[in-house]
């Protein structure tokens, strides 16, 4: 289905020549990669601990209680303290390697003599400062991005799966089936989706997946419309009739002939759906109807930023620049893809 034909190769080559989109694409992929391996870069767990000639790798896996490292408690080791203890005894060969940002997205790093939010400080390793409960903003940004981007990708996949299936069937079967779904969609789109989500999340506490399901229920419609139109157009083409004349059945015609010919429509919409997903989740979190409280989220950071506009400017600056950066990059990627897939660029007359 996704075999690379010369046209696709041409489109990829063209995409690479659009510098702004291509660079954005590379940076965006790096962001996703960083967010996937975030435990190695931003975490309160150490990467490597050497204690009494044994190596420990606490970044992934079960928690290691403090007793293991000769401390006097059973709960998870505080590796920042452990690092200080080890470095105060330089004669031993024990050491701790901490991630560049040694905080996770949930812990409150409080001080005895001041109230959070704390300003950015390289000595504390809070490179973007902390929020009002002393949580590291960089950590919350990265983990929040991880949630947002995967939310957005799963949302996109589910929406497209449903949208493409139903849209394709509407276009292909046509007639009463098409009419029925058109009316269902028209009624469905008239339900104000934000209100519906607000009402639903006041009844149940939304989790990642329940929020996702609610969003899918309201968002599959867009792709359905596009696919319906595209299928209507493609199924009248001669090659479909030719395939029929060879004895091909409906399933084969839909999957081998119609969908591959609509790929460019689907690909063009993907970046916009991604930025749409991120924005939707951020907006819901901002309003307080998104993911429940402690989970790191950009919307929650944004609402905190509006609370401390002047006194803690670093919150606002961080989250707003992050949002602008990510959304602009996605838009650049989308623009480049659209341009690369523009059929007028490759028109040849024979």
């Amino acid at each position: 289905m996704f075999n690379f034909n010369p046209l696709t190769i041409k489109q990829i080559r063209r995409f690479k020549t659009i510098k702004r989109g291509y660079i954005s694409f590379i940076i965006f992929c790096m962001f996703i990669l960083i967010s996937i391996i975030a435990e190695l870069l931003v975490s309160n767990r150490a990467l490597v601990v050497k204690y009494n000639d044994t190596y420990y790798f606490p970044a992934y896996g079960d928690i290691i209680p403090g007793k293991v490292f000769g401390l006097d408690y059973e709960y998870e080791t505080n590796y920042r303290d452990l690092a200080k203890i080890f470095s105060s005894a330089p004669e031993s060969s024990n050491f701790v390697v901490l991630p560049p940002v040694p905080y996770n997205a949930f812990e409150n790093d409080l001080k005895d003599d001041a109230f959070p939010p704390f300003a950015p400080s390289a000595t504390d390793k809070h490179y973007l400062g902390t929020d009002k409960t002393g949580r590291d903003i960089l950590a919350r940004l990265i983990y929040g991005f991880r949630i947002a981007i995967f939310f957005s990708l799963i949302l996109l996949f589910s929406n497209y799966l449903i949208g493409i299936s139903i849209g394709c069937l509407m276009g292909f079967i046509g007639g009463k089936f098409d009419l029925l779904f058109q009316r269902i969609i028209e009624i469905w789109t008239n339900i104000p989706y934000l209100y519906a989500i607000i009402i639903i999340s006041s009844i149940i506490i939304p989790s990642f997946f329940s929020l996702l399901i609610i969003m899918v229920i309201f968002n599959w419609i867009n792709m359905t419309w596009y696919m319906r139109t595209a299928t209507y157009k493609e199924k009248e083409r001669d090659y479909v009739l030719a395939a029929r004349a060879l004895g091909a059945g409906n399933t084969r015609i839909i999957f081998k002939h119609i969908i591959p010919n609509t790929i460019s429509i689907i690909v063009t919409f993907i970046p916009f759906s991604i930025s749409g997903g991120i924005t939707a989740l951020t907006a819901l979190d901002y309003l307080g109807f998104g993911l429940p409280a402690p989970s790191p989220s950009w919307g929650q950071l944004l609402s905190e930023a509006s609370e401390f506009t002047t006194s803690a400017w670093w919150i606002g600056v961080s989250i707003i620049s992050a949002l602008i950066l990510v959304l602009t990059m996605v838009t650049f990627i989308g623009e480049a893809i659209r341009e690369a897939f523009d059929p007028k660029m490759h028109t040849t007359y024979e």
Binding site: N5, P6, L7, G175, R237, D238, Y239, L241, A242, A243, R244, A245, L246, G247, A248, G249, R252, K256, H257, P260, N261, I263, T348, E350
Partner: protein
């Protein structure tokens, strides 16, 4: 004319194919009957919109559902009525026993698949046991047969990389891949330029001799008919107006419409700068067919009876039928 091999392979009896539209049921093919003899070619000739293509598509039951309907008639292939087959039986016949070449080689190939992939489709559908390498070899062999140079290279190319004539050759190769008993060619040369046209016609003739298949050849070009066909039916406004072996049709055209068609062909012998003969008027729209004979409003010899009754098929001489009252002086 073939006398020894008059075995009939396909028999169309009184076929009425209609389209359901907002202005009612429109009969695009109205009472079409013909026989296709084994190892011979039947030409269907007529103007645009006379029901040629509808008739051809009906033979494979390819009219678009739900607007296209078969109101009456039988299409007998190997003693089965194609109009009554189940979808599975139908899928089995299509491409396997009856296949089709389309008018537009530019659009009848799927733009996103390679030639090889599209050619493989027939084999995958009808001989599921075949291995990939067998399919590939067979496809290359077929491409060679239809006269494509470098078939092993062309097989990995995409339709847009081939010229119109080459695409039509690929279409022919695909249609012939399972050695069908009947090949329907719907204006296979109309979209091609004249030199390519001649090559394709030669190719089709040659392949027919080689495989012994029967062919239904649709065209609006009488020259092409003379070149490839054994029998001809002339269609006008959804009806067959004349049916004859090709020599008889060309030597003694009987129906006034057929005569008009022959008169409209420009000839070298006609006087310099004389007016080209035409049939006056235009084909009536399908919803406005006149009562009686459908040709009555354009016919030079129409009598009163022609406006009241529809002439059935009348025998003129052996194998030669025409639907016109005025061929028989009372």
């Amino acid at each position: 004319m073939p006398t020894a091999q008059t075995e009939i392979i396909l028999e169309v009896k009184d076929l009425v194919a209609a389209f359901q539209t907002e202005s009612g049921l429109l009969r695009a093919a109205d009472g079409v009957s013909f026989n296709l003899k084994k190892n011979s070619t039947l030409g269907i000739v007529g103007e645009s919109g006379c029901g040629k293509t509808v008739t051809a598509l009906s033979v494979m039951r390819l009219l678009p559902k739900p607007t296209g309907q078969y109101l009456r008639g039988e299409i007998l292939f190997k003693e089965n009525d194609i109009l009554k087959l189940s979808p599975d039986e139908l899928h089995n016949i299509r491409g396997n026993n009856i296949s089709m070449i389309f008018q537009e080689p530019m659009t009848a190939l799927n733009p996103v698949n390679t030639i090889g992939k599209q050619m493989a489709e027939t084999f995958i559908l009808h001989s599921p046991g075949m291995s990939k390498s067998d399919i590939l070899n067979e496809s290359i062999e077929l491409l060679k047969k239809v006269g494509i140079a470098d078939p092993d290279k062309k097989i990995n190319e995409y339709p847009h990389q081939l010229s119109g004539g080459m695409r039509q050759r690929v279409m022919i190769a695909m249609a012939l891949s399972l050695k069908p008993a009947i090949l329907i060619a719907d204006e296979p040369t109309t979209a091609l330029d004249v030199t390519i046209q001649a090559q394709i016609l030669d190719l089709i003739n040659e392949l027919q001799k080689e495989t012994g298949m029967s062919m239904i050849f649709i065209t609006h070009n009488l020259g092409v008919i003379a070149q490839v066909c054994d029998d001809v039916i002339v269609m006008y406004a959804g009806k067959v107006v004349e049916r004859a072996p090709v020599v008889k049709l060309f030597t003694e055209p009987s129906h006034p419409y057929t005569k008009g068609l022959f008169a409209s062909i420009p000839k070298l012998e006609t006087e310099h700068k004389s007016t080209l003969a035409t049939i006056p008027g235009t084909v009536p729209a399908i919803a406005e067919y006149p009562t009686g004979c459908r040709f009555n409003n354009r016919c030079p010899i129409a009598s009163e009876r022609c406006f009241k009754e529809n002439p059935g098929e009348l025998l003129i001489s052996e194998d030669h039928y025409a639907s016109c009252f005025n061929l028989f002086p009372k």
